[in-house]
Each structure stands twice: as structure tokens, then as C-alpha cells.
Amino acid sequence: MTELARNTGKSDLRTEADVQRARKSYWMGVREAKRKGVPVVVAFGLLPREIWYAMDVPVVGAESLAIQVSARQLSARYCEIAEQRGFSRELCAVHLSLIGMAGDEDRDPYLDQVFVEPDIIIGSSFACMSESKSFLYWVERFGCPFYVVDIPPNPWPGGVPRHAVEYLAGEFRRLIAFLETYGFRYRESRLRGAVQNSRRTMELWQEIEGYRARVPAPISAIDALHCIGKPLVLSLGSDSCLQLFEGLRDEVAERVRSGHVALEDERLRLYMVGVPPLYRLDLLDYPARYGAVIVKSDVDILGGSLIEPRLLDPEHPIESLAMKQIVDMVNPCFDGRAESAVRTVRDYRVDGVIGLNKRGCRNLPASLRLIKDAVYREAKTPMTVFDLDGIDSREYDESQVMSNIDSFVETLLVAGKAR
């Protein structure tokens, strides 16, 4: 089995076109700001976009840049540049490619088009050592002022304590004060509005997930990447992100009413944990040949996880954002990561879980066994784990990946999991 089933990697939701337009206008806004002399910020570690929005800060999210470059199959080039500068190949390709991009004098035409040199860098300790360290290379390279936001992991079994929320809220306040020294204006009312928008976006996202849990699934993992993950990464908290979610909710509801499904004759439902190959997204469609649909994947949470909307209180916007960041599923030591996988398996009636072990990442891959044991113990659902670096294509072996999927899906079929 060497060719892909549908070979699209694209979404056929109408919302996708709206997302594309919003993204284009976002990036044009950043370039325009640079042209006008407004300082451009490069931020590492998925910090609250609500703050950027409330202060009108033109921000390039470092991870967004890495994702875009990977989607155009350019990561390998930039990883190699980082390796030539002495960084180990064993580091995360998101960050190796970012280091390579910063160091590259001769950028490829695509990157040349989207790259904006930073005037300010914001680093953070969220959610891994690579995030916490790689931005220092950018600071060296561009000689910009920088600020580091310290984000506590979440090891507290009994819930997040007050002092942790206060500490992170203080970190966000100090970040705001830092940005103010560069001429950005903070208006609390605007941040409240952004948090209100985020809360509403979370409610809409919950509704959408309710539809996604239906059998057969109305949308696929690829749809979710384009229409959920991407807008959240870029602009959660903005009016435009909220409108995209309203549009998406309506469109998915309409699909459900009209009986439109992601895959005709759906027989198996899969959940993919980890980053799929962003440079070969059509792989997400590959299991379709077996009547299997990936109903849920981690590309949904590229921009942060779905949290209880009531945690976002516009009256306490900064504390809400602090709480949101700490309880994010990606934050280390969170028991909820395995519990959430079990809930996903149950809620979406998942028949099998595929876990992707990304080279260079010491975060999720080191939790895959915990997740595997939890979904088996709590939901009697099998999980397979194999190596796949979703960012760097240099070691991507398509036939191996396909054969891993083939054998897992065949096992599920033999086990009588098909509907």
C-alpha cells in the first residue's frame, strides 16, 4: 500500500476559505505594522493571544512560523542550518527549524515572503525545555529586547492553587508593563472584551465538538486543523476568531441536519495523539480506504486546548488567562492529559488510538505509555504508537507509516470493531 486514499489534505468546509482570508489579513497586518515602524513581536510558547489583541501588538507566533514552513516541506532545510551552527539533531524540529530560519541569510522565496524580523522577543517556559531555551538564539541573532514569561507546570493533583494563578497573572501583568514601555497601550476594557470573546469561542467550540462526536462524523481531523486549530493559534480572543467559530458551528450544524458526513460508510473511528506530518497532511485521510475516519486529533489543540468556558471570567481577565494557560492539556505534569484521552475515546466512540512519537520532543512522547494504559484500562480501547516526526520530513518513511496504520486498522477489523 503506497499511495494515499484521497490525497487532498484540504478541508471542503466553506469556513476554510474564511479562515484563509483571516490568516492572510492577519499576516498582512503584521507586515504593514512593520512598514509603519510599529515594533513587531515574535512570541514563543503559545502565550495568550488575547493580550496581543487587546494591546494591538503585531505578533508572529514562532510555532506558527514553524508550522507554515513544515507544511511547505521546508523544515529540513532550516533544521540543517541549525545543525550546522552546532545544535544537536536530537532537538525538537520546531525549534531547530526556527533557529535555522533566524540564522538564514539566504531565505527561500516562501520564507522570504512571510518572514518579519522581530523588534521584540517574548519567550516563555511553556511547555517544554525547547520552548524555554531556543528563543535565546533569536535574541542573540537579532539583538532585540526580550522578556520571559514563566509558566508553572501543573502537577497539583487537587487543583491549581491560588498562588500559582497569582504568580502567572503577575507574569502577564509584567509582560503588559514591558510592552507598554515600547509604546503599546493597555486597555483593561479591551482585554475584558477579548476574554469574553474567548469564552464565547470556547462555548461554540464545545457545541462543535458535540456535533463532531456524532456517528458518523460530520467533519474530519483535517477540517478541524484548518478551521479550529489554525484560527485559535493566530487570533483567539479576537472578533474575527469568534466570527469564524460562529460560521463553523453553523456549517457543522447544517452538515449534521443534512446528513453530510466526512466519510461515507464510516466503519471505524480513530483518535490521533501527537503531531501528524504537517508536510503530508493527506496522510490523515489514508485510513479512509478502510472506512476509518480520524474523528479527533491533536491538531485541534495547536492553539491551546478546549477548557471549561466558565473559567474565563471577563471581570478577572488576567487571572482567567493565567488559569487557562496552567490547565492547558499541553502543560506538563497534568494528570488530565490521560484522563482527557479516555474522555475523548468515550465521547467520540473511538475504536482505536494512534500515538505519534515525535523525535526530539520530550513532552508528549514521554506520556504516550500513560495514555495507552489509561485508554486501555478505562475504555478497553487499543492504542498503537510509532515514530513520526510531524515537522521534519527527513526521516519520514511513508511506506513504513502506512504499513503501521495498515496493521493497526486490520487488527481493529479482525477484533470486530467495525460498525
Partner: protein, 370 residues
């Protein structure tokens, strides 16, 4: 050199030390690493046992962790899975690297000792908010210990422990003075084992041994090393002397180190304050010894102080494979050291270095260049 031998043999075989503590009826808590205050455990009447790896190959842990996670951590988890740490009543970790955080998750789920606690220390140092946050985290740790032992950890007890541990640190500093002469009276290999032995032994006993060692070194007369370039070793954890021995056998004098099992452990004393918890919180947020922390500049300055104090000619930076904080820092700091006229070589190694031959060739080439 009886004290030297006693400390070195404790370092070589840590388990009897823990088992002896266990037999005495005290609870034994394993811990990692330099941001876990031993003083607090000592004041709680608990034995603080620094967990080191062993040269044993990892086997059982391989089905829990991907092979490209720090081998030191996989090694510790492997020992736990094999029941070789069964004398531990629990584990205390702190918020440093990804691998340590994952050890915490896995320990809770699969080892299930009665106690497992993570001190969620800030990763930004030298700020008042970080200090206040650390203070709260230490207060929680104190309460957790009190629940474990059923007895209060009083300020008095804590103050006494801080004094005792400061004495240890000060004695280790005196021992390190013997590395400063043109021909050091203590080799790098010996120094590593002295510190590791000290970390393992009950501090009352370790202090007596260190005092005796200072006398022994004062009359040693001859250096154990042949003249050569003065080297500082830094990087990821080194919990076995093989690498340092190899560097010294290649013709270097290892006169200084910046390691979790050496200076990072003892370089900074805790202020003897009337609020001992505040003193520990200050200590944790003001010792710039770890590559996981910010700001990096503070750590660079601390390392440069070591370079000056020990008249270092060159730095060997040992990166354990997959150890992200040091893999990044190594590249960033190489440039900084070289700008300050200190040559540095970075070497990536496994936890139990098997391919020493190739490393040795590179070390020799580096030493020749100095």
C-alpha cells in the same frame, strides 16, 4: 587518606547508605535535584537520598519512555521498576527539565510509593514574585512532609538543619581550595566522588569526614595529577567518574566543575535568617546554577567566576544525549566563553559512555590546542 577513601566508597555504592537509614526506622525520600531543599527533609526527620544512576543498561523502562529521553532519568525509572529502589518511601522532584517532569508523572502512576511530591519552583530567578511563589511552594512541601511523618517541621529544627548543611557546604568549599594550586592536591575524579559521597551520607557523618579530609589533603604533599592544562567540566549530570578520569588520563588537570553532583550542590550557602523558610526560598531563587532557569546571563557570570577563581584554561562541556537544557546552552555559551578568551569543546555522550575512544581523541586534540 582514610576520609577520602570513605567518601569515595560511599559514592561508588550508594545503596548501603540508604538501606542503613531505612534500618534505623527513618523514612527515606529519594530526590532530584539541587532545588529540592535537603534541609527541609532533614528537619522533618527524614533521610534525603539523592538518586544517582547506575552503569546498568536500561531495559524495563524502555517500554515506558521513548529511547530519546534522557538516559539518566530512564535509568532511575528502570531501577525503580526493577525494585532496586524499594527502600524509598517516596520521591521528591522539582521543576527543572522535561525528563524530570515525566519521571514525576510515571512515578506517580507506576511506582506508587506512599509519597511523591513535586516542588513546582519558578524557572525565573532573581525576582520578588518568583521568591514569593517559591515560598508558597516550600510551605506546601513542608506541610506534605508533616503529613507524611505526622510531626511538625518547626522553624527551630529547620534553622538547625540549615546550619548543619551550611557547614557541609563550607567544608566542601575548603576541600575545593586544594584544587587551586598550580599542581592541585585533589584530582577532578576524586573531587566528584567526594561531593557525591557527601551528598549521600548523613550530614553529621559527612561533615566529620570532610573535616578529616581537609587535614589529610593538607599533608598530602604530592599532586595526584601530572602538570597539564587547567580544565573546568560542565554540562549535564555526571554521576560516575569515568569521563573525568578519561579527561585527566588524556593529560588535563580538572581543577573546577559546574555539575549537579559538584559545585551546583554546594556553592551557595543558605542565609541563616530568622524565617528559615524565607531563607530557603531566597536560596532557591538566587542560585544561578541550572541551565533550566532564567536568566542565562546570571548563570554565565557564576561560571565565569569559577573560571577566574580556579584559573581555568579551557572548558569541556559534556552533554548527555537528549538533555535539552544543556544542548541549547552549550551552543549559546560556547560563543560567550570564547568571546571571553576561554576555549570550550562540547561533547555529546551517553549516560554510561561506552564509546570513550572517540571522545578521548577529541579531548586530546582540544588539550593540545590549549
Amino acid at each position: 587518606m582514610a576520609a577520602l577513601e570513605a567518601l569515595r566508597s560511599a559514592a561508588r555504592d550508594p545503596q548501603p547508605v540508604a538501606r542503613a537509614a531505612k534500618v534505623s526506622g527513618r523514612k527515606v525520600l529519594g530526590y532530584r535535584c539541587v532545588f529540592v531543599p535537603e534541609e527541609m527533609m532533614h528537619a522533618a526527620g527524614v533521610t534525603a537520598f539523592p538518586i544517582f544512576g547506575t552503569p546498568e543498561a536500561v531495559s524495563l523502562a524502555d517500554s515506558y519512555f521513548q529511547p530519546n529521553l534522557c538516559e539518566f532519568i530512564r535509568n532511575i525509572f528502570d531501577l525503580a521498576l526493577k525494585g532496586k529502589l524499594d527502600y524509598l518511601d517516596g520521591l521528591v522532584l522539582c521543576n527543572t527539565c522535561d525528563a524530570v517532569r515525566k519521571l514525576y508523572d510515571h512515578w506517580k502512576s507506576y511506582i506508587k510509593t506512599p509519597f511523591c511530591h513535586m516542588i513546582n519552583n519558578p524557572q525565573k530567578q532573581f525576582t520578588e514574585p518568583a521568591y514569593e511563589y517559591q515560598y508558597r511552594e516550600l510551605a506546601e512541601f513542608r506541610e506534605a512532609l508533616e503529613r507524611l511523618t505526622g510531626a511538625a517541621v518547626t522553624d527551630d529544627a529547620l534553622q538547625r538543619s540549615i546550619k548543619l548543611h551550611n557547614e557541609t557546604k563550607s567544608l566542601l568549599r575548603k576541600v575545593y581550595e586544594f584544587r587551586k594550586p598550580d599542581l592541585p592536591l585533589l584530582s577532578g575524579e576524586e573531587a566528584l566522588e567526594v561531593v557525591m559521597g557527601t551528598m549521600l551520607l548523613p550530614k553529621e557523618e559527612a561533615n566529620a569526614k570532610l573535616a578529616q579530609l581537609i587535614d589529610e589533603l593538607g599533608t598530602r604533599g604530592r599532586s595526584p595529577l601530572a602538570p597539564g592544562p587547567r580544565i573546568m567540566i560542565t554540562g549535564s549530570i555526571i554521576d560516575n567518574p569515568t569521563l573525568i578520569r578519561m579527561v585527566e588520563e588524556s593529560g588535563a588537570m580538572v581543577v573546577a566543575d559546574d555539575l549537579c553532583t559538584a559545585t551546583r550542590y554546594f556553592w551557595y550557602p543558605v542565609k541563616e535568617d530568622k524565617d528559615p523558610l524565607a531563607a530557603l526560598a531566597r536560596h532557591c531563587t538566587e542560585k544561578p546554577v541550572c541551565a533550566c532557569m532564567h536568566p542565562a546571563e546570571a548563570r554565565l557570570e557564576y561560571m565565569m567566576d569559577l573560571v577566574r577563581e580556579y584559573r581555568v584554561d579551557g572548558i569541556i562541556y559534556f552533554n548527555l544525549m537528549y538533555c535539552d537544557p544543556f544542548l541549547y546552552e552549550g551552543v549559546l555559551f560556547k560563543k560567550k566563553f570564547e568571546e571571553r578568551g576561554i576555549p570550550m569543546i562540547a561533547l555529546e555522550t551517553e549516560h554510561t559512555p561506552s564509546g570513550l575512544g572517540q571522545l578521548k581523541t577529541r579531548v586530546q586534540a582540544f588539550l593540545e590546542m590549549l
